[in-house]
Symmetry: D2
Subunit: 346 residues, 4 copies
Amino acid sequence: MIVVMKQGASQTEINSVIKEINDFGYADHPIVGVERTVIGAVGDEGTKFKLMEILSQLAGVEQIIPILKPYKLASHQFKQDKTIIELDNGLKIGGNEVVIMAGPCSVESREQIMESAKVVSECGASILRGGAYKPRTSPYDFQGLEGEGLKLLRSAGDTYGLPVVTEVLRERDVELVAQYADILQIGARNMQNYGLLKAVGQVDKPVLLKRGLANTVKEFLMSAEYILSQGNYRVMLCERGIRTFETATRNTLDLGAVAVLEQETHLPVIIDPSHAAGRWGLVAPLAKAGIAVGADGLIIEVHPNPHDAMSDGLQSLIPQKFCSLMKELSRIAQACDRSIAGLNKQ
Amino acid sequence: MIVVMKQGASQTEINSVIKEINDFGYADHPIVGVERTVIGAVGDEGTKFKLMEILSQLAGVEQIIPILKPYKLASHQFKQDKTIIELDNGLKIGGNEVVIMAGPCSVESREQIMESAKVVSECGASILRGGAYKPRTSPYDFQGLEGEGLKLLRSAGDTYGLPVVTEVLRERDVELVAQYADILQIGARNMQNYGLLKAVGQVDKPVLLKRGLANTVKEFLMSAEYILSQGNYRVMLCERGIRTFETATRNTLDLGAVAVLEQETHLPVIIDPSHAAGRWGLVAPLAKAGIAVGADGLIIEVHPNPHDAMSDGLQSLIPQKFCSLMKELSRIAQACDRSIAGLNKQ
Amino acid sequence: MIVVMKQGASQTEINSVIKEINDFGYADHPIVGVERTVIGAVGDEGTKFKLMEILSQLAGVEQIIPILKPYKLASHQFKQDKTIIELDNGLKIGGNEVVIMAGPCSVESREQIMESAKVVSECGASILRGGAYKPRTSPYDFQGLEGEGLKLLRSAGDTYGLPVVTEVLRERDVELVAQYADILQIGARNMQNYGLLKAVGQVDKPVLLKRGLANTVKEFLMSAEYILSQGNYRVMLCERGIRTFETATRNTLDLGAVAVLEQETHLPVIIDPSHAAGRWGLVAPLAKAGIAVGADGLIIEVHPNPHDAMSDGLQSLIPQKFCSLMKELSRIAQACDRSIAGLNKQ
Amino acid sequence: MIVVMKQGASQTEINSVIKEINDFGYADHPIVGVERTVIGAVGDEGTKFKLMEILSQLAGVEQIIPILKPYKLASHQFKQDKTIIELDNGLKIGGNEVVIMAGPCSVESREQIMESAKVVSECGASILRGGAYKPRTSPYDFQGLEGEGLKLLRSAGDTYGLPVVTEVLRERDVELVAQYADILQIGARNMQNYGLLKAVGQVDKPVLLKRGLANTVKEFLMSAEYILSQGNYRVMLCERGIRTFETATRNTLDLGAVAVLEQETHLPVIIDPSHAAGRWGLVAPLAKAGIAVGADGLIIEVHPNPHDAMSDGLQSLIPQKFCSLMKELSRIAQACDRSIAGLNKQ
């Protein structure tokens, strides 16, 4: 780390900083500049947060600048190769094929989820999405079919040969959800629910971790690190829009962050255009942009009958629009020397 | 709700909207404007989210504007009088006396928490704060003393006659934390952890709910509503800074939101200047502003020896500065025809 | 507009609102709901802001909701067809061909701008960009070659057959810049410099209006309206990233806004991936995403020798990377049934 | 500055960086860490931006960290004592007395501004505010009385012995406005209109510089530096709310920034609670908080008849409320060992 001294800091103050650095077993490297002195501290990173806090309170210190990144297992430096996550049916996420996950926001009934699985399968999606546990802003809103929803989702996925992804909201549900789902989703509101992150880090299922509404790329990778540090290396990151001052879209899809993630981490990156847009009319252009920016997959809300959807109907595509979007996505993927997983087989 | 039709919407489209409104048992009130038609829909609010979603997808509809607020129990309309929360020792939060909660970020040892309780008590604080379970961005940081920390905190509070407030991070810990704490704190990262909100809504302990980093006042009140709707009416709201583009402070303390809450809700409002500021040098002016804007209490980090703090030492006040701040706060409170609870008795 | 009365508003208060509405010559349409009354007001929009302000201060009024959009000339309702802006050399912006503008941040010397024009022309760009007047955050930074820069830019454009776009910073420079430039650029910092907007609205040159760092889509369109209302209809809108809490990119490129603009306005939309990214390594993926989301053009910083650039070298592409990006962009454009203007001729 | 090399950067890459540093006449100070090398560069700051850009593009370089602050004249390091700005009538801004500026958003008529001056004077304000040139989001809104407004404002100020502050929007109006106004206001939208900043830097009138909606404290001080660097040292900074995701207030008043400015600069700081709040009901608590946080002055909108206001009536206080607020502010000021300038004489 680099300790920046205040302009006019005394030699005594500089010496105190150096002593503290040495007391922690770090080597000191003072650099005397024209206007001020800065001191490099080199040593064991394990105690760095503690040392930073102490130094920041010493007289004459203006600022402490950390040099190393706080995440390790999630970084490209730790693992050069892109992580490829393979599901039980052989589908690979993170490879050259772009994976499309699609389905309704919520599992509402057997008919609805069966019909959804049928249409997304026919249009070429590879994975079925559907919420059994729903985090809702209002306690008075529909909260999901819960256990019953899990069974219906599994059954629909099995019927149409689609692995399923669904959100787990609470630690106590992790085991149950893991019995039914192929991929466990951690929602944006839970990106820093560390108990839940540790819990999914201890099961042998891939995790789709959504970025929190107001979380930086760095925090996003730190949350992935929570899961990785428990031994579960099959984590994919999902950009779904951040909260900004703009209200013309529900959230602001941050495709720049996707480009940054590509450089910073080996983990696959998925984009959710539906939640970012908040309106179905904006989903197609954002989905296309998502493929072009380099995403490894998309997760899109599709509902056989949005008119009757119990949640998020406003942003769901009808089957017909989803099918034509899939064709457009395929063309974009090819223009990027990739292909869409579900359409690849044809 | 109000349905705004697109300019040039056909009469058939307008009729479809009216039919849907009527099918839900709502009355329709069309208003034909110069450029477009809007349609008021009046009826039972229980089904409004569903109706809104359906209407928003009909041809010719541009926008749906809800009229009623989504929170009920938390609103001033539901309860005119300010809620006063009384603790077991008779201390009241929400009345004319401003309550100061103070103590270290984390409980680190018996000596540290005892010393902390001693100094904050001597300076006039009424409630002892201290974290036993710590939500940390990095999985490699100190995570708190957990159960042992709870006992130490309780013991320190009892020794110095201070009720204690501490964070509960997981549903499964609620029962245990409620055995030791006088007030259960829900942290900013968990403001929309609905399982946890429901869990604390079912215990008979006051709850201090912190605003999420990127959550609106409306969402904040909806999260309070989750707790209230479970039957626990002793909820206080805590503004602790929101995330913005500004990096000169750790977060942006939103005192305008405190003024809004005063108008919108009957629940007491607490301000946390320490987490918003992120640096101890900014805590005093923000604490003073917090009293002036009308807060019912403050929660301030104080550490007997910030040099040795295991977390957040950077923003902790030393006892001497806290004591002199208390005197300043008392003067501001008096200028607002209020007083500081702990100093009131003297 | 819709006037929402407070719950429990008295009939006297409601009558006062109705009287005020009628005094302005609007018709009133009261709707009595279960919990409160709302009143529609229909009339001449010319006085609506005044009426809204007055109503908002009457007793019993909770909220005023405007219905109509504040921009007219910029809206799709005013003009159904997409605006196509034709330059003197016949190049069209807003049609099926995507236009690429490229060049250095600043005009630094004859050699530099000639070399820049040569390379961007060879790679297939259609328009040359280069700043003669530079808005710099620090008064101590390089501020541009000004008048001399304009001449060099024009000369380079003429030599290689490229129309030129350059920023105009001050009202008093508009006439001069218009003599040399084919397109006048209004920078992000000046998006709400209304004097400047009016000034460029009075010249017969196309304008490229950049979105302000913290301006909404609605405000963006209002600023376009300022130009259009002066009689200059050749306005193109440029999304260049907004300011958010995220610091991993310099700004957050808001491609969702581009999708919204496509629905809201007939004006062509350009994307600037260079300023949003702030680092050249992120420019290519964002440029590709920009084509995929539907932009009518891109403006990209290219410098023959970024090592020597006097501003923004960090985000400039070297010629080699720009050429290979052009090939990738062409493939994406074709996958969207469009083509790149400069490459089209080949 | 500090150059952070990538993990695994080669010695050749390190040597290239050192060579470049030396070529610029800087001394190099390499520090070899456990995981990577960082290199300090010490030298003449005049060329630092150029050097930073070049270094950032060399192979093996991960990041460049500047150490020195970009503003000089505005910094506390440049001038230890607080700047006190004295107006022609002897009123001092920046001293122990807090200065209250009040008046309508716009000058609308002789009667209105005379009546305004009378009431704000009677209530104890020291300076009269009123806009003659109005920056309006819509080209169709009232744009101010311009020259005629300046004369009316001056006349009202003279009649009631109040210096006047008014906004100047364009460079070409600076001279004229300076003839009538005691303080020139630069509005938030123009905080980075550098031509205008330079222009007001060249007149001998105090300047009230408003913070831009999305500008950091650092950028705010850089804009002050533009004015100071032209030789006008009488600059006061005005916090008026920043743009965030929160819509419950018009903007988010950033009082933490005021506390930071107190530490960073010697310039006086003014707070505008009216524009931040956007609703008169929130002005009083924010004004009180502004005094408590340490502002040197407040600027508050007061209108004798907000019902008839031509702009911003919604956030204007009526005279009666302003008078009672002044009494409250006086009490807060006294609790902070300060006093209100206008009330001090009594």
